[in-house]
Symmetry: C2
Subunit: 433 residues, 2 copies
């Protein structure tokens, strides 16, 4: 079965379970059971969510508020695209003013509020204010996020009424429902959670994400929101998030394009007594859980990449430095020639070594070797002597690893990519409607 | 008619004529008539070519020797890929030893002699020696070039007999025939020539090129060979070639992948009396002709890009520096999202501005504007108010220009790209056979 088949009829649970099964979770973590994803308790203590249909998308829920009962410390990383969307600008402002006391994240899908100038900024601020009003908090305690079409103004009347409608409901939307409300052209909602055993007790870390679907015209793409009831002060929280982000969302590529709205936020609630101190063993355990959950959500995004049928981990090792390894891994993972060969299940090592060669990484190609899972494809000295049949067996898997060893030093890097199929062209060549 | 239709039945002449008609040639140049391309006289005085069928490709000519009656000064630029092919290494050595006295270029198609280690180097040297022997010159006077499959050894017996067979024939292959012999999966041969009126008389500049077809498995791609009967000393020749290369072959992209064998060489013969002196008006006129011919050949390559149906010039202006402009132009031209939108004839300016935003170029997106040919699509302040119908008219053309003005300074850059179609996936996803 192709990975993409999992998504037929929004079979999120089978896609998520398939990936969870092959994931090696760190010690002291217990994956939550996806059967409970529709329950409110999938969220950590002190967090809840409400979803609404604002009418930006024709029929589906397109707005979610994730709220924290108590002031949370918040960490976030944002797109580095110069054309940052208005909600990115406003969320950055609010974090500067109030990073130790964030109470809510509001996110709409269907419209990115990007390339919208001054009016866009006003709209993002109004959205935060309105949210603050119904929750009885102040507007700088709200993070704002949008995803969807670039270059259109938000329909503020619809958004205002949708927020109003949430003032009348209990916040009982599950992680799965919250993940659904931030989907654009994702074919399934993306969410997961871990229980983490610390010396101070068990804490929960849950997250939702949306990925790279860019049908009409540009879905401004990657978003992820994570929440935990572990109590972590803001500086440490930001350090952990930034570091884990480098290892997870910053190691994925679908088509090499980065968006105007990318945002990853992590809230740490203050309703429990489980404070994690900087430098503690608990901090290390929590960090590992965070990195693994973020990597999991990142891989879900690649798995649901536009037109993707395969999830491929590119691991470059033996590079002079980590930076060299990263250059090589990214260039291989973004190469259209490599990605079409992955799609064709073709053991085309020449494209892989040529991509590494043009990446800017410094190495001697004569010392390089290439491996598909456990099968050696290229040995140093350009010796290539492998069974095409065995290679084909690996390449026909839904998910596998390509290891490129540059034979030079101790630098390494990992990038997750997908294949490039005709469906990608179909999806992205279509007219805006 | 789509550009790709020109290639049906190798209608090179109509493709070349179509592009020649829309090209604005510099003053003092006269394009040669493509009706004469089959005549020996399409070459400048003192140059000729012989082609052979070595049997690397099943039926077609796959080997060409371009020879100069007298010692030529030679200039060349090569791929920067670390995995440089053996012929690239050997040609660099020969240029170091003998750049003012090059007598021949030998090129085979069908096999790139790349990723072939020590044996590859020996084979490339043997090819040069054999060529030198039949022409009665020394081997360092020969440049060697190969294009085709990466990772296989050259069939040296076949190549040796093919070179032998050329010792018995008159060198009467036309530019068109020479261009055919270096094709891999190009759909038509690429060649052109200019007469240039200098104060010292009229000189001729002719060139052949091959482009980016990479079916099975990696055609190591771009090659171009130019020859002129203008007499230019080696240092000036190299300066001119390097500069023109930046403006021509270094401004094209089909899929962002660069190959292991790329090479552009220019020979300047010594059989005429038309010496061009550094700093002279003639040097300027010749340079402009060189740049325009190289740009023409470069655009032919993009036009014949794998699966391409459109040839699009991306011009970025108003950048803080030329480097900023180049970053923006290259990122736009390589973006899969932009290229699929071009294929879908979709006026999707959001993707263009988002690509510029992530390119590393420094600018304020609020000041940016975008134009398709003469139609303004985006005005500063994110004002977008244009007729979709008029935009569609332009985007349905075979060839047009996208101008992105960053509103910041005087930096500018041009990149030529093509659209990304399902045929690209089809061509590159196929198995090596």
């Amino acid at each position: 079965m192709k990975l993409s088949d999992y998504s037929k009829g929004h079979k999120a649970v089978s896609a998520i379970n398939a990936l969870a099964t092959e994931t090696i979770w760190p010690e002291h973590t217990t994956p939550l059971n996806t059967r409970d994803a529709e329950k409110k308790q999938f969220w950590p203590k002190g967090f809840s969510a409400g979803t609404a249909h604002a009418g930006i998308k024709p029929a589906k829920k397109d707005l979610v508020i994730i709220k924290s009962d108590e002031p949370s410390s918040a960490a976030a990383v944002f797109t580095r695209n110069l054309c940052s969307a208005a909600p990115v600008v406003v969320s950055k402002e609010h974090l500067e003013q109030s990073a130790s006391s964030i109470r809510a994240i509001i996110c709409n899908s269907g419209n990115a509020n990007a390339a919208t100038g001054e009016k866009g900024l006003t709209d993002a601020r109004t959205t935060a204010e309105k949210t603050a009003r119904i929750l009885g908090i102040s507007s700088q305690e709200v993070l704002v996020s949008s995803t969807g079409v670039i270059g259109s103004f938000l329909p503020m009347e619809k958004i205002n009424s949708a927020i109003d409608s949430l003032s009348a409901v209990l916040f009982e939307a599950s992680c799965a429902k919250a993940a659904e409300a931030i989907m654009t052209t994702d074919t399934f909602p993306k969410y997961f959670g871990l229980d983490i055993s610390l010396s101070i007790g068990t804490v929960r870390l849950s997250g939702i994400a949306k990925g790279s679907g860019m049908i009409c015209p540009d879905m401004a793409t990657m978003l992820a929101f994570l929440v935990t009831d572990a109590k972590i002060e803001q500086k440490l929280l930001q350090e952990m998030l930034s570091k884990a982000n480098e290892k997870s969302f910053n190691t994925i590529t679908v088509d090499g394009d980065t968006s105007t709205n990318d945002m990853v936020a992590l809230l740490s609630g203050s309703s429990s007594n489980t404070r994690i101190l900087p430098g503690s063993r608990d901090a290390q355990v929590f960090y590992e859980a965070l990195e693994s959950l973020m990597t999991f959500l990142a891989r879900l995004i690649v798995m649901d990449g536009e037109g993707a049928t395969k999830l491929v981990k590119i691991r470059v090792e033996g590079a002079a430095t980590d930076l060299d390894a990263q250059k090589a891994a990214r260039t291989i993972a973004n190469s259209s020639l490599v990605k079409t060969a992955l799609h064709g299940e073709d053991a085309n090592w020449g494209r892989i070594i040529a991509a590494a060669g043009r990446s800017g990484a410094v190495f001697n190609p004569e010392n390089a070797s290439i491996q598909f899972d456990d099968l050696l494809i290229l040995q140093p000295g350009y010796v290539s002597d492998f069974s095409e049949e065995n290679a084909k067996k690996i390449l026909s898997r839904n998910s596998y690893t390509i290891i490129v060893s540059l034979g030079d030093g101790a630098g390494s890097a990992v990038v997750h990519t997908c294949d490039l199929s005709k469906e990608y062209i179909e999806i992205n060549g279509s007219y805006r409607t």
